[in-house]
Amino acid sequence: MSDVDFVLEYPYTRTTGPVVGPFLTGLRDGKILGSRINGRVYCPPLEYDPATSEPVPPDLVEVGPGGVVESWTWVAEPTTKHPFDHPFAFALIRLDGADTALVHAVDGRVARGTRVVARYRDERVGAITDVYFVPEEGAPAQAPIEPGAEPVRLTTHLIGLTIHEPLQPARRRFAQGLLDGKIIGQRSPATGKVYVPSRGYDQLARTEMSDADDVELPDRGAVSSFTVISPVRYYGQKETEPYIRASILLDGADSPIYGVDIRDIPPSEFRVGMRLRAVWRPPDQRDLGDFDNRQGGSWESVIERWEPTGEPDADPATLQEYVF
């Protein structure tokens, strides 16, 4: 049973405001701005006086491009989020003309007191990553920089977290069951209730369950709830046509399976109480798709579709407790 790998992404777009905006615009255009507050120059610039926390009007002045390392660490093994994919230094850098230090990356060995100088990347977007630092001694020349037209009013930051974990024990047995064409649930030793898929515990009785509590369930049941989703556009959206997501209470279960994808039954015919049975994919065409430790979804990677059994509908009143 393979481990689960997935990337959790959130795209952030932020407004920049009267101080960070000009600061990021400056980086794009090849200069570093600090802010003058009560006779001190702060870099990175601030919208407030850190001594009093009172807001102050922007009074921006250019600092650097050279500066002095006040403290540093040598990052021997960079992460995928760091500005360099080879060893580098993170340093507190007090830029010429500033009274406070900026944290940034230096591409090269430094020590306390080492002079460094800003270098700009060829592709600049108005972000802190437009710039990096190198030791001033032997620094390569800065290529000419063409200033941009519009000030930077928005900045984007795509967060991406890589997650790697094994399927949890109850989940592993459930997944193996699906590959074998079986739906495995668990019967709570505390309450007798049958959960499918099981989380490995009975959350109402706060009782852990083991493989001794596994039970096989029939691959048929009644629709307990559904929704018709009309796709709207958003980052990562792949759907274009309306589709159904249904909850189905399998015969003998006390919890519905949910998030079941229904593509072959018209929404106008679909209803609570409708009896359905699974049509499994052939064994050699089953895989676990993006099956993970989340509870719902991904039935479609082992079950091709759900079809009406033709049996009389279940009484919707008996399904009200099994909506989700």
Partner: protein, 355 residues
């Protein structure tokens, strides 16, 4: 109204071991703690009038993981419920405040986290400034390295001091059944290891851990009824410093010192201190900020260097102090929790046994 207006005590504690990887869902770790606490106190689920948890969805990468965690508490019957995206020590702070209102007497406090599925050095930059730090992937290990360098350059500590903290902590952890990294290694042996984030070596960092911790907090006579040895929370406070490292003196922790003063840490002898020393150089900073002499026992459990279930780590410090007071091996102690890189935000909790 004088504050705190009610006497509030810890009446029972529970924690899982620190696991390198817990092979199961996070709610199961919580469930084990909650069931343990109910068994120890004789309370039923419905008697827990307020429940609050500290956890972080980013760690396991599961949106709304904090909701699923309620499975471990039992969502029925409904009670006052709260959550902080902070270490469980801050959940304790909220519960302590909540009991001051006087309408309820018993609270359950939880901290839990599974760091093992993700990459902590890539998760934690998300708590830094989103304009000038997070896009650099500026991580707590690197900032701890910068802080260590500041201490060395200021003449306040040496790499040998850092190694001494590690050697002592992980040796002490050999007596802690919940510890993840417990080993007897000499300072000279540790100093022979290569740098990881110079001047830090790998052993100056905490392990990556999964784990949970929980306690029952009760007020006044209810506390006395639930425990023959209640551990009173005599003071608690937390303070924060600038998120710009360049605006801080990283060799000191004024927020810790202020929180300690407000919590009354110095108002009596300190028999034991459990500190969130996540990176070994932080012990140097915290000892000074808390005014702890070399005679004070710090982190007899081994501390976070022996097990770091993020979001439970600070609450575990409180529990380790409380357990020693309950056992009678200490009468008064200080627990410390931290949040943010390089000790940016700090909480101090003062605990005392007896009346």
């Amino acid at each position: 109204m004088a504050f705190p207006s009610r006497d509030v005590a810890i009446v029972a504690t529970s924690q899982t071991p620190s696991y390198r990887h817990f092979d199961g869902p996070e709610p199961v770790m919580i469930m084990r703690c909650v069931n343990d606490l109910l068994s120890k106190t004789g309370l039923e689920r419905k008697d827990l009038e307020f429940t609050i948890a500290g956890s972080c969805d980013y760690l396991s990468g599961l949106p709304f993981a904090f909701v699923q965690n309620i499975d471990g508490v039992g969502a029925w019957p409904p009670v006052y419920e709260s959550h902080v995206e902070m270490d469980g020590a801050w959940a304790l702070f909220e519960a302590w405040l909540r009991l001051q209102l006087g309408d309820i007497d018993v609270a359950l406090v939880i901290g839990s986290g599974k760091s093992s599925p993700g990459r902590p050095r890539e998760v934690f930059p998300l708590q830094t400034d989103p304009y000038v730090m997070a896009p650099l992937g500026l991580d707590p290990v690197s900032l701890a390295g910068i802080q260590a360098r500041c201490l060395i350059d200021a003449g306040k500590a040496t790499e040998r001091d850092f190694a001494s903290v590690v050697s002592r902590s992980r040796r002490d952890a050999m007596g802690n059944p919940n510890a993840q990294v417990a080993v007897d290694r000499s300072v000279d042996d540790l100093l022979g290891e290569p740098y990881y984030c110079e001047p830090l070596r790998r052993h100056d960092l905490p392990p990556i851990s999964d784990g949970a911790a929980a306690l029952v907090l009760a007020a006044g006579d209810r506390a006395r009824a639930l425990s023959s040895r209640p551990v009173w929370v005599t003071g608690m406070d937390h303070r924060i410093e600038s998120h710009h490292p360049g605006l801080r003196d990283l060799t000191t922790s004024p927020s810790t010192a202020l929180a300690a003063a407000e919590a009354g840490a110095g108002d009596g002898p300190v028999d034991v201190a459990e500190l969130s020393v996540t990176y070994s150089p932080e012990e140097v900073v915290l000892r000074e900020a808390l005014g702890l002499s070399d005679a004070v026992t710090v982190n007899p459990s081994g501390g976070p260097l022996a097990g770091h279930p993020v979001m439970a780590t600070g609450l575990v410090r409180v529990i380790e102090v409380a357990n020693r007071i309950m056992a009678g091996s200490a009468r008064r102690g200080v627990a410390h929790a931290s949040s943010g890189p390089a000790l940016q935000q700090n909480l101090v909790c003062v605990l005392q046994g007896g009346e």
